[in-house]
Amino acid sequence: MSYQCDILIVDDEPIVGERLKAFIKKDGHRSETFVDPSAALKRLEEKDFDIVISDIRMGEIDGIQVMQKVFQKSRRTKVIMITGYATLELARESLTKGAFDFIAKPFKLKEIRRTIEKAVESLEKSEPRKTGEAVVG
């Protein structure tokens, strides 16, 4: 059994958001997708998300900046970085700066599902939600 999470997805390739959104919905979570990182940052100002899935290379604003913005607002949010340009240096940088996980593209859906499950477990351990919040499973 796991909580219903609010997940924000930001990737400049629309297909990534579409594919992730569909499968996240299937798993019982709510998601919002953005192709423009500025719009995603604006949304992050308005709302706290449980999990943020962010691409790294996205033009002017990169995923590391998105992650830093997320942590300014909420330290409990789990940030999962995804990128097609993965290197050891980049992965270590993301993890050192607080990313929950780092996934290199191309990845299978089960891999990100497993990571989201772990993030949910970690959220549950660190800060159990108030009674009455939606539960699925």
Partner: protein
């Protein structure tokens, strides 16, 4: 003509040294980062390879082939660029590329840790303590990467021609030393080093073409190039796909002949569950390397032990490999799950990875049943030099397991042309271990004792065999010679056989 290959850990100044050297010499500079970007465009999953050093890859993930492709791409690109001009290359483990080419100058570089921490903190906008942690972890990851990709220790001084410590030396002076060293006759191209460069290039180009073409991407090939002749060796199991090899390699620049040969020596390894760290694997791989043989894996599942989610097994060879062309894919790198990967493969996938990495993979199958099914699978092929029956009937007790394994081996041996042995017999018959060393010592001592006794007692022995004493013991002398000669021959033969095993002669 010289290829300068500068290698260092992160933020140790390799890029800066390359730039200073380029300014002094006017030679072109190439970085690993540029090559990696190009490789990604071809669909080589370098990101997955890199992240696998931090996270354990999925069971179904076949990264060894990506590693081979990555190395082939780097080799081909470097060879092309360095064919007619001097070149400066800098990157992680750059000194390990183009092995054997004598006109490459392998340069190592290190900088004080405080400077590295300071630079890292600046570049990544990290606090110094975080930067130190980052560097510590990254250095470990890179060392792991080098061991995985090149199978050597990246810090081994034997792998370098020059090593700079930038603690007390400026980049300009280091570049000056490099310029002078690069001028030395030791690092100039020779006909032999140019030939090796061309051979490496041709072989890498051929590997890339074969691995990226859909007609041949599933075939496990060994590619070798010598003086314009490309030799491609394929396992017998994949002879159907091998017919496309000449077509795929047609008009490859620098290739004047293509030879396709089927691997002649093959070991079939039958087992219930495979484990690349097991003793059996070590023994079989030792034999395969000695014989130059490919190892084919046959997983035998006992009837009734088939996983619940797999009602039937496919009859086709299970290569377990399908390249997703990530550069061409329209899924944004988010791929659907592979249903086959869910099933427990009994360690076949991991063992396959190890065999591919060692260049000894000859195919894989999974069948359900007993020796009839094994025979059905392999009979008539006549392509096995040896069949090894490994750990079978693992759910049974020790004695039942030993008996049933022997029975299985006997049944197969009777109906198959190839020799069939169990894993226990493998060591005693083909390999040299502690037990064999003790046996050799025993037989050797006995042989020496016999020779010493014979040569120190020649007079009485000659008397007994043909002298005055012989007249009284004619029959006994004949019986003694009849028994002694084969005994000595056996003892001496054992010593010779075991001694030959030490030098890998069967």
């Amino acid at each position: 003509m010289t290829i300068v290959m500068i290698s260092s850990m992160y933020q140790s100044g390799r890029e800066e040294l390359a730039q200073v050297l380029a300014r002094k010499t006017g030679w072109p500079v190439l970085s690993r980062e540029e090559l990696v970007d190009e490789a990604r465009k071809l669909g080589i999953k370098i990101g997955r390879l890199e992240v696998a050093m931090i996270k354990t890859p999925g069971l179904s993930e076949k990264l060894v082939r990506e590693k081979e492709l990555y190395l082939a791409f780097l080799t081909a690109t470097l060879c092309e660029k360095a064919r007619e001009t001097n070149l400066i290359y800098h990157g992680r483990a750059g000194h390990l590329l183009l092995p054997g080419v004598s006109h490459r100058l392998r340069v190592g570089l290190t900088a004080p840790q405080e400077i590295r921490i300071k630079r890292t903190a600046q570049v990544l906008n990290l606090a110094p303590d975080k930067a130190e942690t980052y560097l510590g972890q990254l250095d470990e990851d890179v060392a792991k990467w080098i061991r995985y990709i090149h199978r050597v220790d990246g810090c081994d001084p034997n792998q370098f021609d020059l090593f700079f410590n930038l603690e007390n030396m400026g980049l300009s002076n280091a570049a000056g030393i490099l310029c002078a060293t690069a001028e030395l006759p030791d690092f100039q191209a020779t006909p032999a080093s140019l030939k090796l460069l061309n051979d490496l290039n041709l072989s890498a180009q051929a590997k890339l073409r074969l691995a990226l073409n859909e007609l041949t991407l599933q075939v496990d090939l060994q590619v070798h190039a010598d003086n314009g002749v490309i030799t491609v060796t394929y396992p017998p199991e994949q002879d159907q796909a091998s017919q496309y090899i000449p077509q795929v390699l047609a008009e490859l620049p620098g290739c004047r002949e293509i030879q396709c040969t089927m691997a002649e020596t093959n070991i079939l390894w039958v087992q219930e569950r495979f484990e690349p760290k097991s003793e059996n694997f070590g023994q079989i791989i030792r034999l395969a390397q000695r014989w130059g043989a490919a190892v084919e894996l046959l997983r035998l599942i006992q009837p009734g032990e088939l996983p619940g989610d797999a009602e039937t097994l496919r009859g086709d060879p299970d290569y377990g490999y399908a390249r997703q062309e990530c550069a061409l894919a329209d899924d944004g790198g988010v791929q659907d799950d592979d249903p086959q990967a869910v099933m427990d493969d009994g360690g076949v996938g991991q063992t396959e990875e190890e065999l591919v990495d060692l260049g000894r993979f000859g195919g894989r199958h999974t069948i359900c049943g007993g020796y009839d099914q094994i025979l059905k699978r392999v009979q008539g092929s006549g392509r096995y030099t040896l069949v090894v029956i490994g750990d079978m009937f693992m759910s049974k007790g020790h004695s039942a397991r030993t008996r049933q394994t022997r029975e299985l081996a006997l049944n197969i041996r009777d109906r198959l042309k190839a020799p069939v042995i169990t894993a226990d017999e493998l060591k005693s018959r083909f390999l040299f271990g502690k037990r064999q060393a003790v046996t050799l010592l025993g037989y050797l001592s006995l042989t020496i004792l016999i020779y010493v006794l014979v040569f120190t007692n020649q007079k009485p022995i000659l008397d007994f065999l043909g002298g005055p004493l012989h007249q009284n013991f004619k029959v006994l002398a004949a019986v003694t010679v009849t028994l002694f000669s084969p005994l000595l021959a056996y003892v001496y033969g054992c010593v010779s056989g075991l001694a030959l095993k030490i030098i890998n002669v069967d």
